[in-house]
């Protein structure tokens, strides 16, 4: 089959980018979209031209490294699949595909389809964990977790941090990503002690990175290759609000003037 590609080429963030057209004759329906890019790239290299830069690693939809827009859809037309899992049998013979990077203020472009998503790491670093040092864990089966809770936690924990939710969102909001981690840990007894603090810190970190606010457009859920449900955002909002109402995250400072004598009551 024949597939034409219109690929966003941009040498560096400083230089302007543009779409460049590539005709491919040797596409086959059993080929993945990334394998088609490999073929195009090998041709370019043989001609002495710079290949299209794109990120990919595991090529089985779990590492979250790959991802770009295909005809305006994050990761392409398939539901619940990352770009590396999209096979050409999903396209028509002779179709033209427009490939462009995930775009968001917090995802600076590096080159062509490659972007910098380290903002997502910083959101996790703000509180997306259970604070437990190696060695101080109790026997694993001392805490019981209802199967349904474990399953719901797992549904949220399946996030691969690809950034599709952000690219698809009209506000470039990271709510689905942030909510997924808050929900994963919030469903488990291990996550309870830091639940409020986690929500406060992660939500604030996302805002500080320049991600937008959530207006429940719902595009993220459709784009998510792991089908993370919108409910994680509701959960995030609930945890955040509850923590605010409880007054968590406000530092309990009591200023003591030096030299103030201790008074007996």
């Amino acid at each position: 089959m024949r597939i034409a590609l219109e690929v966003w080429r941009q040498r560096s963030p400083e230089e302007p980018g543009r779409f460049v057209r590539y005709e491919t004759a040797e596409a086959s329906p059993d080929m993945s979209l990334l394998e088609l890019l490999d073929v195009v790239n090998e041709d370019l290299v043989r001609k002495g031209e710079e290949p299209i830069a794109f990120d990919s690693d595991c090529r089985e939809g779990i590492c979250g490294t790959c991802g770009f827009m295909v005809n305006g859809l994050a990761h392409g037309p398939l539901k619940g699949a990352a770009a590396c899992q999209v096979y050409l049998r999903n396209f028509r013979d002779g179709e033209t595909l427009f490939l462009e990077p995930f775009r968001a203020k917090a995802f600076p472009l590096i080159k062509d389809l490659v972007i910098n998503r380290s903002a997502l790491d910083r959101i996790i670093a703000a509180g997306g964990y259970v604070s437990v040092n190696t060695g101080n864990a109790p026997e694993a089966n001392t805490s019981t977790i209802p199967k349904d809770f474990a399953e719901e936690a797992m549904d949220a924990a399946a996030c691969i941090a690809c950034g599709a939710c952000i690219a698809a969102c009209p506000n470039a909001s990271a709510a689905l990503f942030t909510g997924a981690k808050i929900t994963h840990l919030g469903k488990l007894p291990q996550g309870q002690p830091e639940r409020g603090r986690r929500a406060l810190r992660m939500v604030r970190a996302a805002a500080a990175e320049g991600f937008g606010h959530c207006t429940f457009a719902g595009e993220c859920e459709t784009a998510c290759p792991k089908s993370i449900p919108l409910q994680v955002i509701t959960q995030m909002n609930r945890d955040y609000l509850a923590a605010r109402l409880r007054g968590e995250g406000r530092a309990p400072t009591r200023h003591i003037e030096p030299g103030t004598p201790k008074r007996r009551r």
Binding site: R11, S12, S28, D30, M31, S32, E35, L36, D38, V45, R46, G48, E50, P51, A53, D55, S56, D57, C58, R59, E60, G61, I62, C63, G64, T65, G80, Q85, Y87, I110, K111, R117, S118, D121, I124, A125, A126, Y129, V130, V132, N133, T134, G135, A137, P138, A140, N141, T144, I145, P146, K147, A150, M154, A157, A158, I160, A161, L185, L188, Q190
Partner: protein, 636 residues
Amino acid sequence: MHLDGKIPGGPLPQKWERRKLEYALVSPANRRKYRVLVVGTGLAGASAAATLGELGYRVECVFFHDSPRRAHSIAAQGGINAAKNYQNDGDSVQRLFQDTIKGGDYRAREGNVYRLAEVSLRIIDQCVAQGVPFAREYGGKLANRSFGGAQVSRTFYARGQTGQQLLLGAYQALLRQVQAGTVRISPRTEMLDLVVANGKARGIVARDLVTGEIRTFVADAVVLATGGYGNAYFLSTYARNSNATAIWRAHRRGAYFANPCFTQIHPTCIPVSGEHQSKLTLMSESLRNDGRIWVPLRAGDERSPEQIPEDQRDYYLERRYPSYGNLTPRDVASRAAKAVCDEGRGVGKSGLGVYLDFADAIRRLGADVIGERYGNLFAMYAEITGDDPYRTPMRIYPAIHYTMGGLWVDYDLMSTIDGLFVIGEANFSDHGANRLGASALMQGLADGYFIAPLAVGSYLARAKPPAIDDSHPAFEEARKATAARIERLLSVHGKRTAASFHRELGKLLWDQCGMSRSRAGLESALARIPELREKFYREILVPGHGESLNRELETAGRVADYFELAELICRDALRREESCGGHFREEYQTPDGEALRDDEHFAYVAAWEWREGEPPVLHKEPLVFEAAPPMQRSYK
């Protein structure tokens, strides 16, 4: 040089306790004076970096991915073993030890393996405490499944995404330390050389993959957690960027390479569909819990699977290995698949495939239960092949999946270079000649959470490495050598891509040093590889320049190292004149086609020393078996 494994004395169950007491300590206030460099952020690297950070060392973590969470541990599917005996089916530390030693075909160290089995208990505790969402029973307790090479259920899992969830646990622990300021991370930075100064590992040279800048990192100890080298074979289940450069460069700087020919071929991967294929996709071993493997009884039977009646099918694993059936270990199952395909009974267009059939399990348990257990794997299979495994059997074929070999380390996970520790798949330590399913995650986390942090601390306390900075001549030399290698690749301006060379080398390795090996084949490969390497340096074409993101340059550098490594793999395979685990030499087999080990001559670890401009030198570390005396490994 005499190879000393430094196994502690005393009976097996007391060795690790004893060693922990022997370790020297660094007091909490002094730990921040030491810099530890961790390369790689898979299960081993992330867990080691996080734990070292928690202890208070100044940790620098370098990796080529854009985020620590992308390391290929993320793709491990099936599970992680631990001798918890929650199922009350007779499991124990001793039994996990015995299964692992036997599974490795008696080519691993008893002391290491026993410690691994012991530590397995604490790994599960640690991961649960971090919030890893393991599968649960209705009563809220942890669930288990069975895996190959064991007759107990000791595998913990999180759907088919166990590696992902364990890695996220370690990644979150790591980022918590980044936030706390004990760990600094350098993403998109690839190690290209090790720096050895005054006989000690003191840092690395790395390339910033975005700007092309050659950077140096200085440390008091270096921990390599850079994974296995299976991508030398081109087509494998490894991630595209997994590569051997870090361990190969360390090898060239003096770290011995142990058992390079011990590569694991996984029996259940989706077969190759065409020339363009970039990688192979694994279908988890856990599928063999419920799937039955078969081929047509008659060679050349081209009917579709539904049309072949029960009595014209050969469930060859159940027939040949009745007590383990479809859950025989990976090496045995892979060879059996190759044997039936060689007889012309393989299925699919290429004839290189066997059926993995769930019809019985679906009849017995219902499609819902099967979907709950394997839904994501079935979906993945359907996307790749266009077939629906709920209706028609999967087609599977063996593929390169893991490397048991790696840099030689002693009991303290230190290589033959002082201060260079090697953990996880990058070392050779615990799996012998064949790794059991769900044991890689166990080893990565055992090394990272529980062993390396103590061993590294003890090394620092004893060696007290003197202050050094990157103006030391050793850094200067390594930096220049790295720049020269990059320049060489850029300056050839030939006509062939790195990928085309990689494909050619990979095919050669797979044909001559894959599922079965022979003297003639290995000798031909050893003649062919140097020719191919010379051609590579004459004809390689790397467009662009070194001062920016340049994927072709990255690939070319990795492929250049694969040539040297491939030669060592074949040399080791040729030298080991026996069959054991994943290493099957056609000349050495029992009359019924099983591996024929030679304990008298080959019960040793083969550790290879690099020599510039001359053949590598073999050093032997004899293996002593006291608790698990070698016997013929039978799964019948």
